[in-house]
Amino acid sequence: MAMTDVQQAPAHHHKPSGWSRWLMATNHKDIGSLYLWFSFIMFLSGGVMALCIRAELFRPGLQFFAPELFNQFTTLHGLVMVFGAIMPAFTGLANWMLPLMIGAPDMAFARMNNWSFWLLPPAAALLMLSFLVPGGAAAAGWTLYAPLSTQMGIGMDMTIFAIHIMGVSSVMGSINIIVTILNLRAPGMDLMKMPMFAWASLITAFLIIAVMPVLAGVVTMVLTDRHFGTHFFNAAGGGDPILYQHIFWFFGHPEVYIMALPAFGIISQVIPTFSRKPLFGYTSMVYATSSIGVLSFIVWAHHMFVTGLPATVQLFFMYATMLIAVPTGVKVFNWIATMWEGAMTFETPMLFAIGFILLFTIGGLSGVTLSVAALDIQLHGTYYVVAHFHYVLVAGALFSLFSAMYYWFPKMTGRMYNERLGKFHFWWSMVWFNVTFFPMHFLGLAGMPRRIPDYALQFTEFNSIASVGAFCFGLGQLIFLYNILTSLKNGKPAPALPWEGADTLEWKIPTPAPYHSFVEAPQVEADHNGSIVSMHGDKHH
């Protein structure tokens, strides 16, 4: 079968060159780089939309955009960041690092891997071009709730089609990750020994396979409601718009952990390295991650507390949601316990990791607040929710990605990034992130609704502060881009082991990572969290 050419791949001893290297890429490192660059471009695009939103909200009243366009920005900002930036970035990172961390020659299905990446640019193009069609882009919010989504123009059809394509892409990517982890680990790299990043990617991949098809299903129902006379969400035809929310959030809540678990995995690699201690409670970490994955399937209706659910149902989802705080708390405890009495140093990856723990925990606490049904009825649809999910997605997922990029940059490129710029990037992001999003808690508590281009006068000051913060935060990300671009060209050559405490498998091979690594699987003796005690028999080209 053409898809499984792992064993043939090492036969190409030299790198393919030119455009065909990228278009026909089957090497996991090339595909990983494609994913990472794609997601960074999408991050910047979604960021520009966010800045348009914040520009409009700098002052009350309508300044720059018609409300219709504002709604399109909020919708596409969400869709682009979730499906274009965060998810592909984690998939790209898994592509780059997983085979190195578990001693596999490549991903299991190299050509399917190429296909999963190259589906993404057309999907992104569909989303972006939908701004130009009559009626504009989808404007129903990233959740695409019916009956709004059953009414809009062709932009909604393009969005639905884009979601189908991205869904297929991420399901194929996940199958690849699962098969690679389960079948291609080097001898000695047991499941209960492998790095937490591999565990997190594995569980995330299972979540994606379980719920992305459900999202595809529900948007297909919207599509047939729109064009083919079905009545899934049409009350007049016996359907129910609330049903959309049930099916959507059955996807949507596991999706939250799809964006959080890989971040947990990264942090579980970075913290031990810079604390020069093994990860505290590795086994409990694995079980905590798994139980978060399982619990994520039974909490979806906490997004729907104001739809008129009976009290018994509200109570069930409230308690189930609070339960998730337990395994999450185990993880935060373990990270802090890892740092405890460690010989810590604070290079950029570590700074982002500590920033992650601090801010993600704040986001987690506001999440527990929102899980209380009685409070949620007050806070639903306000800026409190916006503050909450940006603490877990920007300071959570995004900070972990920055941490990962700085951490593995020397291994990927053979060059060091600029440490001073990296630290500046961290402190700049840390400050302006909080200036942007912390006031949103107060706005939400005071009752400012989300997704509306105008607001009452008493919300002016906090909105102005948030807008200034957003522009500074956004500009600060160009520091990262500048650092990456200049370091790729002129960075100092990286030593074989740039981080003293790093002991996982990817640090045992030459730097930069050879184009074809682990052509023959090494025999390893590993301890918890993938730390390598001894290794022999590896071969690279």
């Binding site: 079968m1 898809m3 499984t4 792992v6 064993q7 299991a108 299905f109 399901v171 996940s174 199958i175 699962i178 098969v179 389960l182 079948n183 291609l184 396979i209 379980a210 719920v211 992305m212 098809p213 459900v214 999202l215 595809a216 299903g217 529900v218 297909t220 129902m221 006379g229 009545h231 899934f232 049409n234 009350a235 007049a236 035809g237 049903l243 049930h246 099916i247 059955f250 008129g308 009976p310 018994t312 149902v313």
Partner: protein, 181 residues
Amino acid sequence: MGAQRTQLANQRMLAKLGVIAIAMFGFAYALIPLYRVVCEVTGINQVVKADEVESGAGTELPPPFAVTMDFDASVQAGLPWEVRPVTRTVQVRTGEFIRVDYDITNRSDREVTGQAIPRYLPGAAGEYVKKLDCFCFRQQRFKPHETRRFPVVFVIDRRMPASIASITLSYTVFDVPAGRT
């Protein structure tokens, strides 16, 4: 493990995971009947629950008490309906048969079909309002600019908790596209 065997194992797993993905697509559709069954079994969606006729013998009903009923209606922007409750508010007693009227007008120049969906506030009152006749039981066809008066006949179950002092019954009228009646 030999290269051939790894490849075979990979392909087997690919097939299994692919089946899971396709099954989950189907599961999205299966959720629709599943929700209905769950609601019926657990009785959590009270408004659509089928009434059970009891013999009535031996059960002591609580005494009737007074309830304020408010009537309301709404139409989504852009739809041709005008819906007006003839009676806005009425004092009723539980166990009493009540009849109120609604006027519905088609403001457009074409023939249209509408479907009304009732909603109760508080939601928990819904299962105690027993409608015997209602225009919401079926789709209604209107000629251009036609106005019709519809009765709603209901009785409030005497077993309703006395903590509910007032109930709002609100209808939303939706358009049924031509050819879907």
